[in-house]
């Protein structure tokens, strides 16, 4: 029952990796300095904010759902932490602890949001697209109300800021390390645990999975919570990086996150996808945006390119899936 090695199949199933290599070669030629250690670490750091969410989103998409509210969670998470921290500082609690308590509360909010999404999917049989479109607006509004429309500043201690700007060994951005760790955990979860296999099963066919005695509700709640927690992690890293929190953070990130997952080969109908694919997908978007910056492409042009990228990625995937069968 071993597969014969087939070069054509190998290329088809690793097409996106080849494209990434081609892209890197093109960039290296077009933009001098692209391959420098600093720039490469920079790419990792730049993609880390969206990359950690993409890991959560991969679980959600493989599980047959979607979460459009992650951008708002990025803002809300940072704002809740900052607001609570400010509140406690005003009452004489040292800044080191106030931010920690804020972060714990923000975690509780993110978990509640995820559970809420999961319950609405299972109990009320609502499409996650609509649920999270609604909560996207709700959470954005809450973030704006809490911070009063202005950035909250001077509420983060140095350990918190390390999450945003810290460096290991003096040159490896801590955010890049977090990114790699999250990807490894995601990969382990999906490939090596019964929970991961259950996510594939539920996304592939929820009714078959249920009749195989898999707890579909638990799986749906777990994935919706996971992506919210990853959005919170991203929001924490983001507010630490800019040393303040406000409601405008994360606006529109869902487009880029979802396109990274889809470029990586996940199917929007669920049951298909790989964490490794998402890693390639997020690097793909990172290399393109880094290249555009190096080549001095207009900032707004980058939106056009990102949207186009998502469109063509889906087209490409659909085509490849047909070619494979």
């Amino acid at each position: 029952m071993t597969r014969k090695f087939d070069i054509k199949n190998f290329i088809i199933s690793h097409m996106i990796e080849f494209l990434l290599v081609v892209l890197i070669v093109c960039m290296a030629v077009a933009a001098p300095g692209f391959l420098s250690t600093n720039n490469i670490l920079n790419i990792f750091r730049n993609v880390s904010l969206k990359g950690v969410i993409a890991v959560g989103m991969t679980l959600v998409i493989i599980g047959g759902e979607i979460d459009l509210s992650i951008g708002s969670q990025v803002a809300l998470g940072g704002v809740v932490t900052a607001y609570v921290s400010q509140f406690l500082i005003d009452r004489g609690i040292p800044i080191e602890y106030s931010a920690l308590i804020g972060l714990i509360l923000a975690t509780a909010v993110a978990i509640l949001a995820g559970i809420g999404h999961g319950m609405a999917i299972c109990r009320f049989r609502m499409p996650s697209f609509i649920i999270t479109l609604a909560t996207q607006s709700v959470m954005y509004g809450l973030a704006a109300i809490i911070c009063g429309g202005f950035p909250i500043i001077n509420v983060f201690p140095s350990w918190y800021n390390f999450l945003g700007t810290g460096k290991l060994f003096g040159f490896v951005p801590f955010q890049a390390v977090i990114l790699i760790i999250v990807f490894i955990i995601g990969w382990f979860l999906m490939e090596k645990t019964d929970l991961g296999r259950s996510i594939y099963a539920v996304g592939g066919n929820a009714e078959s999975a249920r009749l195989s005695g898999i707890n579909v509700q638990k799986v749906k709640i777990v994935i919706m919570v996971a992506v919210q927690l990853m959005a919170l992690l991203s929001g924490t890293m983001n507010s630490a990086q800019v040393r303040s929190a406000t409601f405008g953070f994360g606006r529109g990130w869902e487009t880029l996150v979802i396109s990274a997952v889809v470029i990586g080969g996940a199917s929007m109908s669920g049951g298909v996808g790989k964490i490794w694919g998402t890693f390639i997908g997020i690097m793909f978007t990172g290399v393109i945006s880094n290249g555009m910056t190096l080549l001095n492409v207009n900032e707004y042009m980058q939106y056009v390119v990102n949207g186009a990228l998502m469109f063509f990625a889906v087209m490409f995937n659909t085509y490849m899936n047909r070619a494979r069968h």
């Binding site: 078959s208 009749l211 195989s212 049951g271």
Partner: protein
């Protein structure tokens, strides 16, 4: 009078020859059954007729005119219409709208409903059925949908009408209504090609039988000249039809008791005991409540009142498939493709979804054990696969069914519930499935077996409960009961 004929049709696929020099003739005004086990080439031949594929060599003639199709629309233009197994009707549109979809008669710019309904009524009338053209399709029963589908095909005035397993989703009483409609069609001078897995219906509906095996034309016979065994021999060469081993007896221990189980509007007051190693059949028409009963026992649907005892212990009322699995139950659902397997996922994974807890140590997957679990079922159940990583969708119906069974056998169940395990699969695979059920019975595993094919129940089970309109109306012993008596009983007649 028209004739559809092929001359030395051959179709090669990479690595295999699906049709080998097949020459056949079909004339109008009669029903021609086209049969063969999976892989016999009958689907390939149908695809050639319907223009979906073109043969590697050989020719097709309709009334002496050579046909050369570029695609399915060409076939329809030349007068060949096909009704596929999967119905293509749109539920929320009316019968007439479905029949004339895309070509509704118009008055100026607007749709002329009066003419559309009148023409639909005439077409339906020709088939001897009384269906209101303005009715929404979702309100119709399965056989009526099938008739509407046929009417739609007939509205193109075809010379050839191909019916692909029209009865596969119908209950026995519905089959009769459909057959009446098909018989009415014979008067319309059309060549009817009828494909079916249900051999026993051929004597009711077919005039001739054409058999293919492994891509070869085996024979064309008048239905009156042959017996069931003759046909089976033509399809399979020499095979032995197995019967339940006589030494297979149920033990005394009661493993499951169902007491006064009721689910509103589905079934009521169902009570029975299941013994260790026993194979208990449930006979009933579609809609008798048999599928709903199995699903409730397995915890897939909730029940309203009554109780279920496993090994004498009462099952909590908020049951779920998870709980029932932990108590040793397994269910192979009626809808294999949508409820039994995950079509896009590999064979290997599909064999292990119900036993994920067994192939994991503290939630961490043990790959060796997973591969062993998959391999064990592939070997034990004789599942024919190219590669254990191929998707289940690439398998035949019979092998898919074995995947569903294997998925459950990997959980080491004590009680297996089989809902229509033999639907839409060929005789060889059916026999293998029965063999598996017998082998499990030998090991002391009890089974509940639901089927609309009554002769199967008589062949496989120790004991048969008869269900009608949500109630158990009798219990029979297969040894003392004949098929026609069982049939009458499931239709609501007296149990003798």
């Amino acid at each position: 009078m028209s004739i559809l004929s092929t001359l030395n049709i051959t179709k090669d696929y990479p690595g295999c020859r699906a049709l080998d020099n097949v020459s056949v003739n079909f004339d109008s005004g009669r029903v021609h059954a086209l049969i063969g086990k999976n892989g016999s080439g009958k689907s390939t031949l149908i695809k050639v007729f319907s223009g979906a594929i073109s043969p590697t060599s050989g020719e097709v003639f309709l009334d002496g005119k050579k046909l050369n199709f570029q695609g399915p629309t060409d076939a329809l233009k030349s007068g060949i219409a096909t009704v596929y197994q999967e119905l293509s009707l749109i539920p929320y549109l009316s019968v007439a709208e479905n029949i004339f979809l895309g070509r509704l008669p118009k008055k100026g710019k607007t749709i002329d409903w009066k003419t559309a309904n009148e023409r639909a009524r005439q077409l339906l009338h020709k088939m001897n059925v009384d269906i209101d053209p303005t009715e929404r399709v979702y309100k119709l029963s399965m056989w009526q949908c099938q008739v509407v589908e046929i009417t739609k095909a007939m509205s193109y005035n075809p010379k050839v009408l191909m019916l692909d397993e029209p009865t596969s989703a119908l209950a026995q009483n519905e089959v009769h209504s459909l057959f009446n409609a098909i018989r009415a069609l014979k008067k319309q001078d059309v060549i009817i090609i009828y494909i079916s897995h249900r051999l026993q219906e051929l004597w009711e509906i077919a005039d001739t039988v054409t058999v293919l095996r492994d891509g070869y034309f085996i024979g064309n016979v008048q239905i009156g000249d042959v017996t069931y065994n003759d046909i089976v021999r033509m399809m399979f060469g020499e095979v032995e039809i197995r019967h339940r081993p006589v030494d297979l007896v149920a033990r005394d221990k009661i493993v499951m008791s169902v007491k006064n189980l009721t689910r509103k509007d589905k079934f009521e007051n169902i009570s029975f005991d299941l013994k260790e190693g026993e194979i208990l059949g449930i006979a009933g028409m579609l809609g008798s409540g048999r599928t709903e009963l199995l699903r409730c026992i397995f915890g897939a649907d909730p029940f309203d009142s009554g109780e279920i005892l496993i090994n004498g212990r009462q099952v909590p009322k908020n049951i779920s498939p998870q709980i029932m699995k932990s108590l040793g139950l397994g269910l192979t659902p009626e809808e294999r493709k949508t409820q039994g397997v995950i079509l896009i996922h590999p064979i290997r994974d599909n064999l292990c979804y119900a036993s994920l807890d067994k192939i994991c140590d503290r939630h961490i997957l043990n790959k060796n054990r997973r591969d062993q679990f998959a391999k064990r079922q592939i070997e034990d159940l004789d599942i024919k696969i190219p590669d254990s990583l191929a998707p289940v969708s690439s398998l035949s119906g019979g092998n898919q069914q074995k995947i569903v069974v294997g998925n459950w056998l990997n959980t080491s169940p004590r009680i297996m519930l089989y809902d229509e395990p033999s639907r839409g699969i060929d005789i060889n695979s059916k026999q293998q499935i029965f063999q598996i059920i017998w082998e499990q019975s030998c090991k002391g595993i009890s089974s509940i077996f639901v089927s609309s094919e009554l002769e199967e129940l008589l062949e496989v089970c120790h004991r048969i409960l008869i269900m009608h309109s949500g109630k158990i109306i009798g219990e029979v012993n297969p040894g003392e009961y004949k098929i026609d008596m069982l049939y009458t009983a499931t239709m609501g007649g007296k149990v003798l």
